[in-house]
Structures are given as structure tokens and as C-alpha cells.
């Protein structure tokens, strides 16, 4: 099957090139497989003030039926944000990105906004429990990891 991706991603790209919500900027979208976006947290949350974070979107053939793979990327001036649901290797534990929480109506833009608000609402300067071990041992793709959403308050 050719996949629904091309047309849909094309439309999304047109839209976000012209118009993105504040704090979100498109870095690159050279092909229909991997896009990079920068996000900032806009309020004065001391955990994230003045920082910019880079997100990598990987689209499979089944996008948007299947969720994209979204992770933070670490660069010299782009750290991995501190958050109890974000591992230090950039993997994000967010139900929206798993098969249960994903809806094909979601988009790159809506995912960015969700992550932005997930950061905005956070007050804990910590990594998920077992971060070190997970980062050392994990070879799975993010979507294959059975995250246990043990805490819905953050």
C-alpha cells in the first residue's frame, strides 16, 4: 500500500511552514521520513527558562494511522529537558505517542503542543525512576516499549 503519508505530510508541512504556534519552530523537513523541530517553554518555568529543545519526528509508512516516533535530540546547545517522563537519552513516555493514546487526527503540530504543555506543567527537576538502567539497557524502538503510565499527574 502506498500509504497515506505523502499527501498528509505535505499538507502538514505547508501548514507549519507558514504558521506555527509560539515557541515552536520548524528546523528541517527535507524528506517525508524525518523532521526536526525546536520547542521552547514560554512561561517562566525555572526548569526550562531560556532553553531550546530539539525534537526529532520519525514517520513510518503507516503514519498517521500509526503514531510517529518522537524523541528529544541532544546537541551542544540543545539539552534533553529534565522531566519525570523524559529519559536522559531523549525517549519520551507520553500516552499520546503509544498505540492506545494515539489518534490519526493528531498531527506534528498537536504533538509539539502536547509536549510543550507537558513541560510547562512540570515542577519536578528529576528523571523517571530507573532512568540510568533504562538508558544503558534499552535497544528497543520507543513505540515497542510498554511504558507503564504510572503517574498521570505530571
Amino acid at each position: 500500500m502506498a500509504g497515506l503519508g505523502p499527501k498528509r505530510l505535505g499538507k502538514e508541512l505547508t501548514k507549519i511552514t507558514n504558521n506555527l504556534p509560539p515557541g515552536i519552530t520548524l528546523v528541517s523537513a527535507d524528506n517525508l521520513e524525518e523532521w526536526y523541530l525546536d520547542i521552547k517553554v514560554l512561561d517562566q518555568n525555572p526548569l526550562y527558562a531560556g532553553q531550546t529543545y530539539r525534537l526529532k519526528f520519525k514517520f513510518s509508512n503507516s503514519y498517521p494511522i500509526e503514531a510517529p516516533e518522537v524523541t528529544f535530540v541532544k546537541l551542544d546547545n540543545r539539552p534533553i529537558p529534565m522531566h519525570p517522563h523524559i529519559y536522559s537519552n531523549g525517549i519520551i513516555c507520553l500516552d499520546l505517542l503509544g498505540s492506545q493514546g494515539w489518534s490519526p487526527v493528531q498531527s506534528v503540530e498537536s504533538v509539539c503542543m502536547s509536549i510543550q504543555s507537558m513541560l510547562t506543567g512540570n515542577t519536578k527537576n528529576e528523571r523517571p525512576p530507573g532512568d540510568e538502567e533504562f538508558v544503558r539497557g534499552n535497544r528497543q524502538r520507543p513505540r515497542d516499549i510498554a511504558f507503564y503510565y504510572h503517574d498521570n499527574t505530571v
Partner: protein, 496 residues
């Protein structure tokens, strides 16, 4: 999340609940009542309940199925809940308010699909009653992804974000191909059995049957609910392991864990090591003198008498001391741990022996079939006339299985005045089984002897009878709580 999502799901009046039968005419104590269903029965059961709800609540069959699944097929609770607050129940089940009538495929001018952004004229679209409309291609791919990749069936929601409308089978039929549809039905059947605590799949390979039994988890310290599927496989309804009567599930769990930890290692340790009298570390003496210094606690002792080395004075390398106080104590402690190990090994060896024999069951059975053919030619007996060998073989297998577990049972059994009866029963069965086993393995020439045939038939009947007596006795005492165990059975009953 609504409070309709979790139920403890035990029907209050349970027609299949086990009665601890004391009435011998009705059957034996260790039997539980159960029913075996084949895939057609399972489908029929669902259909019947769907029809019923369809009539009582006047809703379509598709909706009735969805709401029944939501209530995990507990019809009484469904009807109660529905009568109480039908909008709330419908919403929670994924049957929220309808926006459009009877869903069908249609093309709508000026429509753009929110999933693929396709907007050409004549695009076929579909929406469930929630009104969230997408093009047919996207809907199909979405369903394919859910059913094929994620193995989801009973709770496939509308693709729209935040819409909890559940896809019904009629909509599904409109959208997907036949093979996906049959996969969907298969998954639904699976959830039907898995949703009901009174139903379990037969664990035998390639068996598609399910067994219904009313035994509840909290009763598993009182009864060992062995069921036999029509495929011939006998298993425990409580823990799905193969038949482990007379030992209750909790003991079986502990025993298997213990065996996985110990056994082989324990054998070697018992033969080659002693424990430090102070910290009980296991020590292997691989040469050298009798003056031992424990690596772990630095305790110095004599390997021969296990007493304090300091009390040996200057009589090195030669333990000539007798009955030093510290030595006796240490030997006592060691003897105790050795006794406990020996006790375990006593039961383990017997358990393992029967397990070994049970593992050869398949072999024996195949040999039996061959024997039966040979015997027919050797003796001129008919097929029917040699069936006694098959019966004997089956009796051997079942009895060995039971015997095996009597040893695990006995390991945890605390001695009281009933244990002697149990041990006598165990001994009788064991002797009978070994005797039958011996006859059974005789060469064909001897088997052709009519007297041996009668002997085997008698012994087979005797074995089966001894097994029933043993199981009857153990089950009876278990149900009435007259056994005492050296572990707590209750601790784990109720959870799995």
C-alpha cells in the same frame, strides 16, 4: 474514567459453584462440576446473551454486543446499571449519543479527510454514529492496524481524538475484507473467554475448547479443581497447570519454585559440604587439615567434630576430642539443617521419579498401541479384546501423575493423626502402580496368557480405586480444613 469500568465480576448466584459433596452417591469429593465448550458453543453462548439483551433493552444486536463486552458479559449487572442511568452506561460502554443514523458508505461533496487530507470529488467516506467522518481508505487502514498489528477487537475506538465510540461489527463488515473480519471474530471470542472468570481456555496445544467451572480463587485452599477437556487433557482450573491433585495450587506453586531453586545443587551440597557452625555458610573442604577458618565470619572450628578450634588446644591435625559442649551444639544445628535437606530430597526424589515416568507416558502409550497389534496376531484376540492394555496404560499415567503430587503434598504436610492414613493410602497406591507397571511391561508371549490378562484388568481396576480413595480422603480433609500445612495456604489464595 468512569466507574463502570471495573467489576469484580463474580455472579452472586453461581449455578456451577462447587459443592463439597458429602453425598457419596452423587460422585466423589474431589470432583468439581464443569462443562467443556467447543468454539461453536462459545459463539452460540455469546449470540444467546446478545439476543437476550437485544430483546430486553430493545437495542440493536451490535450495540448489545458492545455493551455486554463492556460489562464483561455480566447480564444482571448490565441490566441493573442500564435501568439506573442508561445515558451514563451507554457513554461508558462507547455508545454515546448518536449524531447520524445507520452508518453507510457515502461520498459527500466538499469533504476533506482529516487523516490523509484527501479531498477529491466522489471520495467514499464513512462515519459511525458519533459523526466523525473519514475516508474509507483511512478507516480501513486504521482498522487493519488495530486488528492485525495491535490485536485489538472489543475496544476499537473511533479514530477521532478523544471520541470513545466503539466500532460495531456491522460497521466493521462494511469496511474490511473477509479475512480481517474472521480475525476480528476470533479476537472477540478470545476476549469473551478471557473476560469471564468462570471460563478458561484448555491449555493443551492446538485445542480450541474452553472449560467453564464455578470455582472461585478464594476457594483454592479448599479444593483442587481438576477438569478434563474433551481433548483428553486434564488440568487444574485454578492455575492452568496440568492436573496436580491432591496438592492445592499454592503448594504446587511453592513446590515448583523450590524445585527450580534446589534439587540438583542440593544433592551435591548434601554429599560434599558442611556448614559453618556459626554463620551456616556452606563450606567444601577440598584438602588440608581439620583446622577450618570460615572465610565469611572467621569462625575457627574443627572439621571433624565441628567444635571450637580453641578447645582443641595443641592436638592439631587430629581430632581426638569427644563430646565437647560446643561441638555437640554445632553438630545438632548442622544435623537439623541436614535433616531438613534430607527430608526435602526424600520427597523430591520420589516426586521426580514419578515425573520421569510420566514423561515417558507418551512412549508407553505408543508402545501399547504396537503391543496391542502384536498381541492380536500372537493370540488371535480381537481389537476389542486387547483394549484392556490401553486402559491399563491410561490408569498408569493418571495414577503416576497423582502419586507425583502426593509427594509434593506430603512435603508441606504437617504431621497430625490424619497423615498416617494419607501415607498408607499413598503406599497402597504406589505398590499397586508398581505392580501394574511390572505386569504391563511383560513380553508379548506372556501377555497372551489369559490369566495375566485377568490379573492386569484386576490390577488396573484396583489402581483406579486406590487413586479415588486417596483423592477422596485428601480432598475431604482439605475442604473441611483438617489438614495442617507447614506453610500458609491462605497467604496467596485470592491472588494469582
Amino acid at each position: 474514567m468512569s466507574n463502570f469500568d471495573v467489576f469484580d465480576d463474580q455472579p452472586d448466584d453461581d449455578p456451577n459453584a462447587i459443592s463439597y459433596k458429602t453425598d457419596k452417591t452423587k460422585g466423589v469429593t474431589f470432583d468439581v462440576s464443569y462443562k467443556v465448550y467447543d468454539p461453536d458453543d462459545i459463539r452460540r453462548q455469546q449470540d444467546e446473551m446478545i439476543d437476550e439483551v437485544n430483546m430486553i433493552l430493545a437495542m440493536s444486536k451490535e450495540d448489545a454486543a458492545i455493551i455486554l463486552r463492556h460489562f464483561r458479559w455480566n447480564k444482571e449487572r448490565l441490566i441493573d446499571g442500564y435501568m439506573d442511568d442508561s445515558p451514563k452506561v451507554l457513554e461508558a460502554a462507547g455508545l454515546g449519543p448518536s449524531v447520524t443514523e445507520s452508518p453507510k458508505l457515502e461520498s459527500i461533496s466538499g469533504f476533506m479527510c482529516d487523516i490523509c487530507c484527501e479531498d477529491e470529488d466522489g471520495l467514499l467516506t464513512f462515519a459511525m454514529k458519533c459523526g466523525h467522518r473519514y475516508c474509507v481508505d483511512c478507516y480501513r487502514q486504521y482498522l487493519n492496524q488495530k486488528i492485525r498489528e495491535e490485536g485489538e477487537a472489543a475496544r476499537i475506538q473511533c479514530p477521532s481524538d478523544g471520541c470513545h465510540r466503539i466500532i460495531d461489527s456491522r460497521s466493521l463488515d462494511l469496511l474490511v475484507t473477509a479475512d480481517l473480519r474472521s480475525r476480528y471474530r476470533e479476537l472477540l471470542n478470545r476476549t469473551f473467554v478471557e473476560d469471564k472468570d468462570t471460563l478458561k481456555w484448555c491449555p493443551a496445544p492446538d485445542c480450541a475448547n474452553a472449560v467453564e467451572c464455578g470455582i472461585k480463587k478464594k476457594d483454592l485452599d479448599k479444593v483442587v479443581p481438576t477438569v478434563a477437556c474433551n481433548c483428553g487433557y486434564r488440568f487444574c482450573f485454578g492455575c492452568i497447570l496440568s492436573d496436580h491433585q491432591p496438592a492445592p495450587c499454592e503448594l504446587v506453586k511453592r513446590w515448583l519454585k523450590k524445585c527450580a531453586d534446589d534439587s540438583e545443587t542440593a544433592n551435591w551440597i548434601s554429599a560434599n559440604t558442611k556448614e559453618c557452625p556459626k554463620c551456616n555458610s556452606t563450606i567444601e573442604k577440598n584438602g588440608g587439615c581439620n583446622h577450618m577458618t570460615c572465610r565469611k565470619c572467621k569462625h575457627e572450628f574443627c572439621w571433624m567434630c565441628m567444635g571450637l578450634w580453641s578447645e582443641h588446644g595443641t592436638s592439631w591435625y587430629n581430632c581426638n576430642r569427644f563430646e565437647e559442649k560446643s561441638g555437640t551444639d554445632a553438630r545438632d544445628a548442622q544435623a537439623k539443617s541436614r535433616v531438613s535437606l534430607e527430608r526435602y530430597l526424600h520427597y523430591y526424589n520420589r516426586y521426580a521419579n514419578h515425573e520421569q515416568s510420566a514423561r515417558l507416558d507418551k512412549d508407553i502409550y505408543q508402545k501399547t498401541e504396537k503391543k496391542m497389534v502384536q498381541l492380536q496376531t500372537a493370540s488371535g484376540m480381537s481389537w476389542i479384546e486387547v483394549q484392556y492394555l490401553n486402559t491399563a496404560s491410561q490408569a498408569l499415567q493418571t495414577c503416576r501423575q497423582t502419586l507425583k503430587w502426593t509427594y509434593a503434598f506430603a512435603f508441606y504436610l504437617a504431621r497430625n493423626n490424619l497423615t498416617e492414613i494419607f501415607e498408607d493410602n499413598q503406599k497402597d497406591l504406589e505398590m499397586a502402580v508398581e505392580a501394574l507397571s511390572e505386569m504391563f511391561e511383560k513380553p508379548i508371549a506372556e501377555l497372551a496368557d489369559a490369566k495375566l490378562k485377568v490379573d492386569i484388568m484386576d490390577k488396573t481396576a484396583y489402581c483406579n480405586k486406590r487413586r479415588v480413595i486417596l483423592l477422596d480422603d485428601t480432598a475431604d480433609n482439605l475442604a473441611t480444613g483438617r489438614w495442617s500445612f507447614n506453610v500458609d495456604l491462605k497467604s496467596a489464595a485470592g491472588r494469582r
